[in-house]
Homo-oligomer: 155 residues x 2
């Protein structure tokens, strides 16, 4: 960008000033301003050039943008806190007991151990696992655990 282009505003301003002075002189000669109207005359000039100044300022310092950068932290995988995916639980229609069984299953417990932990019989645990597998559409406990983790049913 050349000097002319870069300072176009200022050059225009200077030209405007010259034109205004010329006009004023011309008006002065034409109508022979009365002494009393000098302050009105000054006022008009002042207003005019104030407007010019404002225009200049706005034009010249164009991008007065205060950019406020707000960093929004998005945690993709919570570190310790595990949040149960309620939607999946509802979608699969899993009962509380079934989810509990799945949890201990994922921890590596056998059906008998889960039965002992939940104070129920082995048969009951078997019923729960069977229902769980049917609802999750899997065949084995390892598949259930794998899918359960992927769906956010277990940590």
């Amino acid at each position: 960008m050349g000097f002319l282009a870069r300072h176009r505003q200022i050059i225009l301003y200077g030209l405007a000033l010259a034109v205004i002075i010329f006009l004023v002189r011309w008006l002065e000669i034409r109508y022979i301003l009365a002494d009393d109207s000098v302050d009105i005359y000054i006022g008009v000039i002042a207003l005019l050039f104030t407007g010019l100044g404002v225009w200049l300022a706005i034009k010249l310092r164009k991008p007065k943008v205060e950019t406020v950068i707000v960093e929004k932290e998005i945690l993709l995988t919570p570190p310790v806190v595990f949040v149960l995916n309620e939607n999946e639980v509802k979608r699969l229609n899993l009962s509380r007991r079934e989810l509990e069984v799945l949890h201990w299953m994922a921890a590596g417990l056998s059906n008998q151990e889960i039965a002992d932990k939940l104070f129920v019989s082995l048969n009951t645990v078997k019923t729960h696992t069977a229902q769980l597998f049917e609802k999750m559409e899997v065949k084995r406990r390892t598949q259930a655990v794998d899918l359960g983790k992927k769906l956010g049913l277990i940590p």
Copy 2:
């Protein structure tokens, strides 16, 4: 905020205008300006008020606040990149085949399915799992998978 406070700039501007006019009149009386110096006089006024205009514009114009929300994603456990915990593999003295079996085990495959996938017999897979369980000091495949995940042996 009251009217006065809100329009302080404009009121100041008005006052400045009045002061300038008063000064000019005073100077006029004092020194009796020559007709010839009228354009210089106008020039000075113009410059003064242009400056005032610029100052006004700068002061008045609120810096346009542009709020840019930068979403900063914080990955705690990278979902795609899995790095095998070599140290644990060495510590437990796990062979390549055993690790491979563990991997498919975690995916929910049965021993027969793993055998088919690795093009070996079911008995071979059983041998590998047995060795794996002994080295990992676990009793069941679900335990092996759980521990494997915790030790970073599998994704």
